[in-house]
Symmetry: C2
Subunit: 417 residues, 2 copies
Amino acid sequence: MKAEIIIIGDEILNGTTLDTNSQFIARELEALNIEVIRRSTVKDRREEISQALYEAEQRADLIVTTGGLGPTKDDITKKTIAEYLDEELVMNEAVLQHVTDFFARRGRPMLDVNRLQALVPKSAVVLHNAMGTAPGTFTEKSGKAFVSMPGVPFEMRYIVENGLVPLLKERLDNQHIIHRYLHTVGVGESSIAAQIAEVEDALPAHIRLAYLPSPGIVKLRLTGTGDDEATLLNEMLVFEQGIKDILGPVIFGYGNETLSSCIGKLLTESGKTVGTAESCTSGYISQLLTQTPGSSTYFEGALVTYSYGLKEKLLQVNHEVLNNFGAVSEETILEMTRGGLQQLGVDYIMATSGIAGPGGGMPNKPVGTVWIAVGDKNKIISRKYQFGGDRTRNIELTSIMALDMLRRFILGIGEGA
Amino acid sequence: MKAEIIIIGDEILNGTTLDTNSQFIARELEALNIEVIRRSTVKDRREEISQALYEAEQRADLIVTTGGLGPTKDDITKKTIAEYLDEELVMNEAVLQHVTDFFARRGRPMLDVNRLQALVPKSAVVLHNAMGTAPGTFTEKSGKAFVSMPGVPFEMRYIVENGLVPLLKERLDNQHIIHRYLHTVGVGESSIAAQIAEVEDALPAHIRLAYLPSPGIVKLRLTGTGDDEATLLNEMLVFEQGIKDILGPVIFGYGNETLSSCIGKLLTESGKTVGTAESCTSGYISQLLTQTPGSSTYFEGALVTYSYGLKEKLLQVNHEVLNNFGAVSEETILEMTRGGLQQLGVDYIMATSGIAGPGGGMPNKPVGTVWIAVGDKNKIISRKYQFGGDRTRNIELTSIMALDMLRRFILGIGEGA
């Protein structure tokens, strides 16, 4: 089954509001093995909506729209869709009762425009909206299904989860889609592609590989389609193993894991704790670690020492070392690491000091020069990196590389693939 | 001028990755008075890309695409676009040099696939990508313009801001476009809209107002178009003043200022320093402060005390206070504030402690309960907030409200408008 998603609304189209609805709907449909083949955003005007519906119907079996179902007069979606489907709008008594109760419960007066929300296409299946007053609808016409939902994200999500998904599950055929994710760190997209070219070239047509890069990280996604789920999965696992054999420890995780959650898993397993001593990243690593729910069991805290004074006071960095070698030096990062371990009383620590830019560069230490160290009470490993000129990216890359250094440190594996 | 945006990539289409590129591009185009009439997301396959280009060309003058320009083989966009435009792909020496330098600077080997990134449509204007290796291109054909950019957000943004926008400005008619930004904090979009409805209703057709919301912050953008720049600016300043008179201290800045840069300005002017004592935000405020270049002149550092133990050790929070009132309490936040001021030796401090979620909620302290305090050696102000159930949003909102509390503290203005 193929689906298209149409987001209706000027506020999305012109960028006032970020569209998160189409991502949510796409994920829900893909999880049902329904392939999303196109997403569009259109103005909330009659001709544009009709045109988009027409185009989508040529390509897809299922057309899902959100937006334009509110009570105000600029919401013409419902009328347009009914007209497009050649359906009369009729008052639905169950919806009317829900709308009436909704206002009564909130002690707010129900207006005529609110009554009109109970109008639905005559042959539509109503998708109940417990979160608001505009119902979702599911209408079939010539073998195609048209779904219409309000654009308010939490109302739409309720309708998808409680109305649309159960209804679609009943109607599906037997094709399975499987996604497998492998997460890599520290190696560029093109280098990875060159390394695993042989595996990629051997992929059959029904299994595809995609590279999804973000700073420091490249996510590999295998997508397979087949009639039998177990056969497909076994087939995909062979290719996955091929990639794992080649890339080795460059792969840090699978599925929906993150670098932060993988470190969390390692620490939880060993009952160890972690903290950070950060200069140029200024708490960025600390907040990455705590993006993983439950991180309070292993993350103790961080010392962000941006100034020379605090490096000396909080991390016991020697005054002479700072003066002689500067804050961005191996000598200083080692002192920061030792001081951080002691002050935070943690098992592992990550420390950073660098020139994030745009200012602060020197001939022998250009912008993007960063020292990172990781260690425990027995051993410290430090490394110098040379990143680029963008401040935000330098901070992100430093944080990702620090997390990777710690991962390798805990696992006892060296740098490189 | 009318524009369409085409996002190319399976990972966006199927919901793996949230699309933020089309919002960014739409805002930038709308800021140039270019109307965005449709946005589409399509698969990274030849036929789908060609079909989307064809459809867009029927409706729009400018077609902007992102995605599918990376070095790996799932990226077929460049070839498809060149083919669609009937353009030969030629090696661009300047781009090749840039790619070569890019790899040399990072000490990484340049592969054949990287060389291929320097291939561009023969008649294209190259839009330089200082952030990566895939160039943007601007190609004209039969009076329509086709822009192609990589999908990596920070590379795309660089190309839009430094290449595409200046180029489009040259090609637009002689009309002057002026943007004026007012940044507000702590008040919702609908509340602001209700307060300034009178000003908005009085705007002439050539001056438009847009609301650009993000967590805790609503940016107001006035866009004016006119033949004479000075006349237009004077006219716009009248409306801007009208908004300022109504909203007062809810407005924290103008132009491209951020809450962090505004605080930086106040601190630089007074020669004072700042630091943070963070629990639930775990360094998020610290890294927001250092997003402003030059922040090292006033930002000293941060104590991130996630555990009870570090709250006691690093911030001298009383053991009994923690045990009796818990970490998320007024009593604890006041101790954290005092301890932070002393330990960091700063003039001002922000402190946070809350339940970010998803776990950790209690009947009397549900997820989203947050205490924030700001202070100096003479005075401390603390405040309890009740945010929602989303962890990331709670951390962002806590950080923004802490920065706003500090801004008001320094300026000596109370809460509310």
